[in-house]
């Protein structure tokens, strides 16, 4: 039993790596990209955490940090949102027009209301985005973000997802990522640079 469970785990993990590797290769660099940054992303029409329509126009002309996650997430999502919001506060005046979005990878459970509640402590810095799952999948894919809904034995499910924060400049170009639990100062420097571009 031990063996097949291990095999199952290994198999799952290998599958995750295999499916995700193409996307990750694009932004594995921990350094922010200065030369010929790729234009990623796709048009979208979704709902924000205030229940209002939101499209790709919301990203236009402003440096933007994107985090894909979900509210049924005890650690990475709240910690990442807290970290991004804290960094933005620490930037002070240097924050300028920097904005951040928390995009649900679990829109079936994450209603705009629930998203709004989840980001409430970070409301000054972060807006939530949710909407139909197929549309979210297209948006995530366009940013090289991996999403996989995984059914659990008890009928519940979880969602595997890329945990990095994606950094987009004013012209909508991909400039790098902030990894989960990245060095605080490094992350701060990346945001500062992103705003200056």
């Amino acid at each position: 039993m031990l063996t097949w469970r291990r095999a199952l785990w290994l198999g799952t993990l290998l599958a995750v790596v295999a499916v995700g590797v193409a996307g990750f290769l694009i932004y594995r660099n921990t350094q922010i990209q200065a030369a010929s940054p790729p234009t990623l992303g796709a048009p979208f029409s979704l709902i924000d955490s205030d229940g209002q329509p939101i499209t790709e126009a919301a990203f236009a002309g402003r440096p933007t940090a994107l985090f894909f996650g979900f509210t049924h997430c005890p650690e990475i999502c709240p910690v990442s949102l807290f970290e991004v919001s804290t960094l933005m506060d620490e930037l002070g005046a240097e924050k300028r027009d920097l904005q951040a979005f928390f995009i649900s990878v679990d829109p079936e459970r994450d209603t705009p209301e629930l998203m709004g509640s989840f980001i409430a402590p970070f409301r000054d810095n972060i807006r939530g985005i949710t909407g139909p799952l197929p549309d979210i999948e297209v948006l995530a894919g366009s940013w090289g973000v991996y999403i996989k809904k995984v059914p659990l034995d008890d009928g519940d499910y979880t969602v595997d997802h890329t945990a990095s924060v994606i950094l987009v400049d004013r012209k909508g170009r991909f400039r790098g990522t902030i990894a989960y639990r990245e060095n605080h100062q490094t992350a701060l420097d990346k945001l500062r640079l992103l705003v200056s571009l």
């Binding site: 031990l2 291990r6 049924h72 005890p74 945990a163 989960y180």
Partner: protein, 203 residues
């Protein structure tokens, strides 16, 4: 052996024990005796649950995490069979693995094994308690009582201190940068304890 001989033998043993105890008392400064008494007081199932904490959640959060250290000072391995908490409809042990920037979180289906003399840490970035169907949010400054049911030690209650987001970040920073590295379920931080393979299959 006559009864008298046996009596003499017993007396000799008593004397030996007495002398040994005196010697041992001399070592009490080193804390060995304290450790020994503690271990014996807890009998064969010398589980110690400590450093329990949790992270505050937002008002409508459906899930929350919990962390603690389980030390087995006993003489036999024990297994964590189930978890329950009044504040959550369902409580389980989950494991989190970061795989190339992708977060993978799964319930741990086989009971966690805490080997004799070993320490099992449930920490951010790895094994943790997962509270689902929260009846009430985790509020910073409050505490949560959680019952862990062990195969041998039975039901043991541990109190988790709920930390604010800021305090929880500090706590995570203190626990070091070895996150994502805890899937073996064991740590060798305590040099006095051996680091066994726990036998659970989530690595």
């Amino acid at each position: 052996m006559t009864q008298r001989d046996a009596g003499g033998c017993l007396a000799a043993m008593k004397q030996l024990v007495s002398r040994s105890l005196s010697a041992l008392a001399g070592l009490a400064v080193a804390g060995l005796l304290v450790f020994s008494i503690t271990a014996h007081a807890e009998g064969m199932h010398g589980l110690m649950l400590k450093d329990g904490w949790s992270r505050e959640t937002t008002a409508n959060a459906r899930v929350g995490g919990g962390y603690l250290t389980i030390m087995n000072h006993g003489e036999m391995a024990d297994r964590l069979l189930s978890v329950r908490a009044d504040h959550a409809g369902m409580s389980e042990v989950h494991n989190m693995i970061m795989q190339d920037d992708v977060m993978v979180m799964r319930p741990v289906e086989d009971p966690l094994v805490i080997e004799a003399g070993a320490m099992l840490e449930l920490q951010p970035g790895g094994l943790h308690l997962m509270f689902m169907q929260l009846e009430q949010p985790h509020v910073a400054g409050e505490s949560l009582d959680v019952v862990l049911v062990f195969e041998h030690a039975g039901e043991r209650t541990v109190t988790l201190e709920v930390l604010s987001m800021r305090d929880s970040m500090e706590r995570m920073a203190e626990s070091g940068g070895s996150h994502g590295d805890h899937d073996s379920g064991h740590s060798d931080h305590d040099s006095g304890h051996s680091d066994h393979d726990s036998g659970h299959s989530h690595n």
